[in-house]
């Protein structure tokens, strides 16, 4: 038996455990897929083939010695703001091209201890802000792969990696999942140490996981977060109580709105309780609070570096940093207090539902000069709630559409189980034909 590009992580682990194939086989097939497609897709900023093969061989020796690790043989593509020892952390910023990480970020150390290996570093918008990355959308080369985790989002549906890591400070995990047509999961804030990750906004930054299916996301999340082991292929929970958010449907383009209504109808037919409602805090209030915190913290992170390298900063991040530096301290503190108040208000409201459902993005993938509408991903980021985007359909233009599910704080596993139940009713779109 030989591995294939596009295999599920769960299949890889089982096959490496039972000896059907080796981690080296897994590495070779994914390196071949990168060789074949990445000249056009440009998901990867750095791939060190020798390092990949050496790590795969080491994992095979571990297996030969009797080890059966929980993620044994699973390749992971890593957003290029996350340190991987021996590889540069460029972050889309030319002066960092030789910025070789001396040690792994906390999440990479954990992945390696679980038997996964790093396939390479993926393109990001510069410092995870809004200046587009070079990556193409695997479904249409003229369309945006979104941002900031553009390369990680594109690596999954092009069969180059079964798992990828990204980050979200506004919408940078979920929007690439929707535009590229993969599953993207942003757990509850603070689920994982940010050590070894270039920050953008300390209080808003989240790490997240991409995969081609919910089971693989759950498998990796459970292992990383240290949840009690449980077979992630087991049947999901009973039909959930779903809050379908009208405000966001009204802000969506017609194909997005029609698709989500169709999904909601199918879930209701299958036994879910679907209630059309709104958050108890209007979106515009959440948006302004997020934008003030985001802008002020981004300015604090980047101000000194911008002074040192003004000509190397992209126009959007540069103007964002300069404007953010002008925010008065009292305004920032007021925004932080409002954030706390809104978290409490929405937490109380959430007790009547299991999950919130809304489109991941208001539109299908936009043109490549932009990275897309970040508004719909901001509530979960600001509130620190777990959120997942499922690629549940294609637009009339043949582009993926995402369904966003938001769970309660620290109920990440419950959200993932609800996502698996929904998947049984609304199957995922799979990957484009040309990558199979």
């Amino acid at each position: 038996m030989t591995p294939e590009a596009g295999m599920r992580a769960g299949q890889i682990v089982a096959s490496v455990h039972d000896g059907s194939f080796t981690t080296r086989d897994v590495a070779d097939v994914h390196l071949a897929q990168i060789e074949r497609y990445d000249d056009s897709i440009q998901a990867f900023a750095t791939v060190d083939e020798d390092m990949v093969r050496a790590e795969a061989d080491w994992l095979d020796r571990q297996r030969d010695a009797g080890a059966r690790l929980p993620l044994h043989g699973v390749p992971v593509a890593v957003k290029d703001i996350i340190d991987v020892a021996g590889l540069p952390t460029i972050a889309g910023f030319e002066p960092y091209r030789e910025n070789i990480a001396r040690q792994d970020a906390a999440i990479i150390s954990r992945l390696r201890s679980l038997g996964a290996f790093v396939l390479g570093k993926t393109h990001t918008t510069q410092f995870a802000v809004g200046d587009p990355a070079p990556t193409q959308n695997p479904w249409n080369q003229y369309k945006s792969p979104a941002g900031s985790s553009a390369g990680s989002g594109a690596a999954i549906p092009s069969g180059m990696s079964p798992i990828a890591l990204g980050s979200q400070t506004a919408g940078s995990m979920l929007r690439p999942a929707a535009f590229n047509g993969c599953v993207g999961f942003k757990p509850t804030r603070d689920w994982m140490s940010m050590n070894g990750v270039i920050p953008l906004s300390w209080s808003l930054d989240h790490l997240g996981i991409y995969a081609g299916n919910v089971s693989d996301v759950e498998r990796v999340y459970r292992q990383l977060a240290g949840h009690e082991l449980e077979d992630s292929d087991q049947p999901a929970l009973s039909p959930p109580r779903i809050a379908l958010l009208n405000e966001f449907l009204e802000m969506s383009d017609n194909p997005v709105r029609a698709h989500l209504r169709d999904i909601a109808d199918r879930l209701a037919d299958a036994g879910a309780t679907v209630v059309e409602t709104d958050l108890p805090v209007p979106f515009e209030k959440l948006f302004s609070v997020h934008q003030l915190i985001f802008s002020a913290e981004m300015a604090a992170v980047h101000r000194e570096n911008l002074r040192a390298y003004p000509d190397h900063y992209g126009p959007r991040i540069r103007s964002g940093v300069e404007a953010g530096a002008l925010i008065p301290a009292a305004a920032l503190l007021h925004a932080q207090r409002l954030r706390r108040a809104h978290i409490d208000t929405i937490d109380t409201w959430f007790s009547q539902f299991d999950i919130v459902m809304m489109p991941t993005v208001s539109t299908e993938a936009c043109d490549r000069a932009e990275t897309g509408d970040r508004r719909f991903q901001i509530p979960a980021t600001l509130l620190g709630l777990p959120a997942i985007s499922l690629p549940t359909g294609l637009s009339p233009n043949g582009l993926p559409l995402g369904t966003q599910l938001i769970g309660k704080a620290n109920r990440d596993v419950g959200l993932l189980r609800a996502a698996r139940w929904i998947n049984e009713i609304a199957p995922l779109i799979g990957i484009p034909e040309r990558f199979k």
């Binding site: 906390a106 954990r110 603070d190 994982m192 140490s193 050590n195 977060a225 240290g226 515009e284 209030k285 948006f287 302004s288 609070v289 934008q291 003030l292 802008s295 103007s319 964002g320 300069e322 404007a323 953010g324 530096a325 002008l326 925010i327 305004a331 503190l333 007021h334 925004a335 932080q336 207090r337 409002l338 706390r340 108040a341 409490d344």
Partner: protein
């Protein structure tokens, strides 16, 4: 929370533009205009959301590092 009408973004825009001129010069302040307009609207949106003196105190202590958990 008392949710009074937002005061509008004009005054914030004037203050931000003035500060940008002081810090970055006339030309750069002009290039930042879109950002300054956006930010002034956001500041007005935040200022329009009122809290009592005792609502939502800021947590002063840093969180524990959770590496390895």
């Amino acid at each position: 929370m008392d949710q009074r009408q937002n005061p509008g973004a004009g005054e914030y825009y004037r203050r931000l533009t003035s500060a940008a001129r002081d810090d970055y010069g006339e030309q750069r302040a002009g290039e930042l205009d879109d950002q300054l307009r956006h930010l002034s609207e956001m500041m007005a949106g935040v200022a329009g959301q009122r809290l009592t003196l005792t609502d939502a105190p800021i947590e002063q202590l840093p969180r524990q590092d959770r590496s390895g958990q």
